[in-house]
Point group: C2
Chain length 540, copies 2
């Protein structure tokens, strides 16, 4: 027997309607080259309603994929709502990918239209001959492009000419968003979000024990809107009527700090590498961060030094979250439980550097080498598996990696321990673990320790082939500018000596100028491993 409750679909339309109804005066702010663009959710709503007509005029049908190629800005936000609310699928393209990867992804997704920031026109022109499905290009800022070999309609002209459209009735299980991840091996793979998954994820983001986003927040997502939906913050902000502050392409530490201050931002979010740069600047100059209450960090394990820095210097809470494109992304969050408040600062910091407990709706387990579920003892290693209503059940239009979705669980590829309190601690990506003489060494643990060294700016530890031990760790170090050429390998290794078993210590240290970054700003170990494939470790 079913309950007698309304069969109300949980859709992006409901979020949009809520912003219009209850928060018409609240603002969306976008950084521009000169000053900012500022308008209200009411203005926003009316433009989204016009876009419904525009999409129809462009020939976009139900479930068609419509791509965006843009920074975090208000027009991108309009498309975030208009495309799924029209019944089509928002496909956010990663602007940092190589052209051949982009062509593969666009063709695989069968995108019908691409909306792009004007600065990317040359790239679009270059891509066009390789695209099989795209029927229209629309340039989001600036006038139409009418070159012989490349034409693009003007977004503003289309909106200008359009009447507000009416929203079709949607079901909550319908596809709403598509995001490709190149995190796994082989071709990039698409994660196809539903209205339901995006809606539930937005609700979860507002739970007080999760990120606790609320109406009075002024939220700056530094994490790109082309990366796991900017961790859901655009949808969440509209649901609760929070002020949204969008950085556009202005992503340098100084730009970020200025925007934080000028727009009185209360919550911001990005990957650890962003904060390493920001902290460097904070150490040199004075900035007033008194409005900021939460820095949400995810995407890679967060060094204790970052958490400690913000806490000690600014009383700002760093919240560490774990997730993946396949998990929408919020999977777990690193908050202390109430009875942990009595622990020492040091013990608390140790817990905060873990990736936290699963958020409501998400279930976790980890599978050891023997195929069995591991004990939650904080020691046993296993691959993290998750399930829940905003976890992918498969990749879009491919059977590749189908084994990652067996038995109703998604295998994340993250090797973790889980402690008795349920806190996940990521030891490594499965492919980054270093196997030395049959024992695992966690590159993540070594890196997190190294990043706490006062002279080190960036650090990455990779496996290098070794005749006797199969693999041994190599530490790749970027020193802070003022310490360049003044630090020895011994000093680095000595720093680690007290913290780890001797057989964990890297066999060598290389000092480099920069650690290569992935398209979403994380340290790119794949590239680093390639670079040092032939590296000859010292004899021991």
């Amino acid at each position: 027997m079913n309950g007698l409750m309304m069969d109300t679909p949980l859709t992006i339309q409901m979020i949009l309607e809520r912003a219009r109804t209850f928060f018409p005066k609240k603002e969306i702010v976008t950084k521009l080259a000169n000053g900012v663009h500022r308008y209200t959710y009411k203005d926003f709503y009316h433009r989204v309603a016009k876009l419904i007509t525009v999409l129809d005029q462009l020939g976009v049908k139900n479930s068609d994929r419509v791509a965006t190629f843009a920074w975090n800005n208000y027009r991108h936000l309009e498309l975030y709502f208009a495309i799924p609310c029209s019944g089509a699928v928002l496909h956010t393209l990663n602007i940092r990918l190589a052209p051949d990867q982009l062509a593969y992804i666009i063709n695989h997704a069968e995108d019908q239209v691409i909306f792009f920031d004007a600065m990317f026109a040359p790239l679009m022109k270059q891509l066009k001959p390789h695209l099989k499905s795209v029927k229209q290009f629309v340039v989001m800022d600036g006038g139409a492009i009418e070159d012989d070999d490349f034409k693009a309609l003007s977004y503003e002209e289309l909106i200008e000419a359009a009447a507000e459209g009416s929203f079709p009735e949607l079901k909550e299980d319908m596809a709403a968003g598509l995001c490709y991840t190149s995190g796994t091996t082989g071709n990039p793979k698409g994660v196809l979000y539903s209205h339901r998954s995006l809606f539930l994820h937005s609700m979860a983001m507002t739970m007080k024990d999760n990120t606790g986003l609320c109406e009075e927040d002024r939220i700056l997502p530094i994490v790109p809107m082309f990366h796991a939906n900017a961790w859901g913050m655009p949808y969440t902000s509209a649901m609760i009527g929070a002020t949204l502050v969008l950085p556009n392409q202005f992503m340098q530490p100084i730009d970020i700090l200025k925007l934080l201050i000028e727009e009185k931002v209360t919550v911001t979010a990005g990957v650890p590498t962003i904060w390493i740069g920001v902290i460097q600047l904070l150490e040199k100059e004075q900035f007033d961060l008194s409005n900021l209450r939460v820095v949400l960090i995810g995407g890679s394990a967060v060094p204790a030094s970052i958490i400690d820095y913000f806490d000690r210097k600014y009383s700002i809470a760093v919240l560490q979250a774990w997730g993946m494109t396949e998990t929408s992304p919020l999977g777990s969050i690193g908050r202390l439980k109430s009875y942990m408040q009595s622990l020492s600062k040091q013990e608390q910091l140790a817990i905060k550097t873990k990736q936290g407990i699963a958020v409501p709706c998400i279930e976790i387990r980890a599978i050891g080498d023997n195929g069995q579920v591991i004990e939650w003892d904080g020691k046993s290693l296993g691959e993290l598996q998750v399930r829940g209503p905003w976890v992918a059940s498969g990749y879009f239009n491919t059977d590749e990696r189908a084994e990652a979705f067996r038995d109703g669980w998604f295998s994340t590829g993250d090797i973790v321990t889980i402690d008795a309190e349920g806190y996940i601690s990521i030891a490594d990506r499965a492919k980054d673990l270093i196997k030395s003489g049959g024992e695992w060494i966690s590159s993540v643990d070594l890196e997190l320790a190294l990043l706490g060294h006062p002279k080190i700016r960036e650090a990455s530890v990779i496996a290098v082939a070794h005749e006797k031990w199969v693999e041994r760790p190599l530490a790749c170090i970027v020193l802070k500018d003022q310490f360049k050429g003044q630090v020895s390998s011994e000093e680095i290794i000595d720093f680690l000596r007290d913290r780890f078993a001797s057989w964990w210590l890297p066999d060598a240290v290389v000092f480099i100028d920069e650690i290569p970054k992935t398209s979403v700003g994380k340290f790119d170990k794949k590239q680093l491993r390639n670079q040092y494939k032939e590296f000859k470790l010292p004899e021991k």
Copy 2:
């Protein structure tokens, strides 16, 4: 095209599993005649798992209704989870109803088993001959009952003998809970909650802009578990691992205050009449309420005097919520928007006395006399309609009042205004509005003003027939003990004179000892109107 997300059902099982997994050490506390009963979510979980076996042994099948007749205590909480997690339907009976109403409801619901607190054994015995479907009685505290004409199994003996059962697979749309409301005319009507509706409602309760319940909270629901699921707090608390403090039958102001203090309660919830009694006691004696951060009040409009009292004297936020059994119950909540923080205290108080804006997932509108949707101008009156995933789509097993569920909206029977900011203000229950000479007078507005009078304890304003004006208001007043016999009708009317148009002023005042209460502790206007049906108003 559907999204490719896991089809994870949102069920009470998931909430239970979460409490067991991440919060096994957190406590559930129940007030007893001597001291308290205290155990953990872990202990709780194992008893719930045993109850799965017990229910099976009692012959309870999928979708069977299983009734509880109990105060807010830990055994009742166990049944809150065990019954729906077994696939059956938890039917919470209102212990304050008259025997004939109870018999009607139990027979209509076709309850198979009734679990009851031992103190209600005489009533159960009295009811038994009138019950058609009940096959088993189980007494929750104390030993089995083996009378000739009434037998009841012992809850503790059943649990003692049972092994832990396994949980069946459930779908989220399945019925999980049943609660009858006698708020409408005619027979009591059943609202049939689904797993999905209860789950989503629990998530909503934890959103920071709603009640913002969180793990560190110690939550005391004074609102009974037989009334709209104690506003969802039992399920919400388990989802977030909050400490739950249950008052059992100890509901006098002194009991409540003692429990608040001894258990360091941070959030409590109940109808306004409870707080009127508590404030009376607070005015006489000193109590340390420093742990309490939120008093959630709903069920009737909240007098400004209560909000102001807690704010001024204790810096405790009174959160006013609106809801009904048919809305699970959370429909709207009275928080200020961030830009209202700059208003004067007085202006803020005026907003806080409204019933707030709809919570996420819930949509609202109001329909005027002419059948049209009213303007949101804070003046136009209309009947509030709501829709959303935890709003009833009909009543259980009856077509009575089907007109309340037309066009996908539920007509609440509350006459409201909605202002430009989206804040609902309840003018009256439709049936309580006073129609004088073709114009509406809001009894609620008059009552809220009267409750602000320093000498008045309780106040209710009802319509009395009038030859010329059709209806005119009569004020029924209960004075505080120390002012009994010392206040004139003129003083009361004069108090209202500055606040309302002269034609709104009651034509007469009667001083009485107590205002009759409904089974859920609200002022019972139906009874009052009956009592004064023949009241002769003074000639004017």
